[in-house]
């Protein structure tokens, strides 16, 4: 009841003062970090071509000069993928009309996730193939691609659905540099990702 006790007026003032100092520090800290560019974590080099839900061949050249977010999933995944996809949809809805931006989801179960299955999946999510590519391909090449994006993916018969994979999203800039990793299962992390995409769009 300290705050309501007028007799302890001076204590209230001290607390209010401390609060102001902390808030100022936090806001200054935020300004500082948003002025600094996002770090460069690595360079993307994918020597493979994959096939998307429209049966088009998708190679790295499609992403040259584009900002994009990549992830790994499979359509019959019973655990984290649905949450990742609902978070990815938030990013899609925000940037689908921006021609500098793309989304790229790789299936780690390419034997099941054929072009037809991916096409049906995309239709159910009501997503446009030109903004969000769902791709399938040679399994070993997809797993190696996950490694190149800094994400884990492997088969494991004991895991639910038969595969283990990272639930993270990788953010790549126009020069093919990795600029951040974000937990695709956490709303706050994806809020941060959406902000960071905006920062990359503003980069010269």
């Amino acid at each position: 009841m300290l705050i309501f006790n007028l007799e302890k007026d001076s204590k209230v003032q001290i607390w209010a003062g401390l609060l102001m100092v902390v808030l100022t520090m936090i806001s200054l800290g935020c300004d500082q970090s948003s002025r600094e560019p996002l770090p460069v974590i690595g360079t993307i080099d994918i020597p493979y071509t994959f096939t998307d839900q429209q049966n088009r061949q998708i190679g790295q050249e499609l992403f040259q000069g584009k900002i994009y977010v990549a992830d790994f999933f499979f359509t019959s995944c019973p655990t984290i993928c649905p949450i990742m996809k609902s978070q990815m949809l938030r990013i899609y809805e925000k940037f689908k009309d921006n021609d500098q931006f793309l989304l790229l989801s790789h299936s780690i179960d390419p034997e099941h996730d054929t072009v037809e299955v991916l096409n049906d999946f995309a239709a159910r999510l009501a997503i446009e193939a030109d903004s969000w590519h769902l791709v399938t391909g040679v399994k070993e090449e997809i797993y190696d691609t996950a490694f190149r994006y800094g994400l884990a993916a492997m088969e494991d018969k004991n895991a639910p659905g038969g595969f283990i994979h990272s639930g993270s999203f990788t953010l790549v800039d126009r020069q093919g540099k990795i600029r951040g990793y974000y937990k695709g299962t956490e709303e706050e992390a994806v809020d941060r990702l959406i902000k960071d995409i905006g920062r990359l769009i503003d980069e010269p």
Binding site: N5, L6, S76, T79, P82, K85, S86, L125, A126
Partner: protein, 135 residues
């Protein structure tokens, strides 16, 4: 009256209705444990589903007059077409064959309490009886 005592009144006036509201909200929505562990990632914490990919549970015949079919549907999964109401949907849902009768009862009670249309009173006996009729 001292300013100290004067200030207590507004505090009480805010706290009392807040307490009343909180106690009023304590309706029985069942135990979400099984639902959150096995179902929420696809069907959503609020049963809202995800577009046409994972159906919403908020308007399902399986939580109304077809509730007797639900234990088999959950334990065997779905692969292909199911008809609910006047809509046919092509669905792929994994089988949850490892749920115990207790877990199944807790889950279906939770579904019914949150998104069902009332009616049928559930029990473990009834669930096991329904499970014996699975195709």
């Amino acid at each position: 009256m001292s300013p100290d005592r004067l200030l207590r009144w507004p505090v009480m006036l805010v706290l009392l209705p807040a307490l009343m509201l909180l106690s009023g909200c304590k309706e029985n929505r069942g135990d979400p444990a099984v639902y959150n562990r096995h179902c929420a990632s696809c069907h959503g914490r609020e049963g809202q589903g995800l577009r046409a990919l994972y159906p919403a549970l908020t308007d399902s015949a399986y939580l109304g007059h077809r509730i007797g079919e639900l234990p088999c549907l959950i334990s065997s999964g779905v692969r292909g077409k199911i008809v609910t109401g006047n809509r046919t949907k092509n669905i792929r849902m994994p089988a949850f064959a490892d749920l115990s009768i207790q877990e199944m009862n807790s889950l279906i009670s939770y579904l019914q309490l949150n998104w069902g249309k009332g009616g049928e009173t559930l029990s473990e006996q009834k669930i096991s009886q329904w499970l014996r009729t699975c195709p």
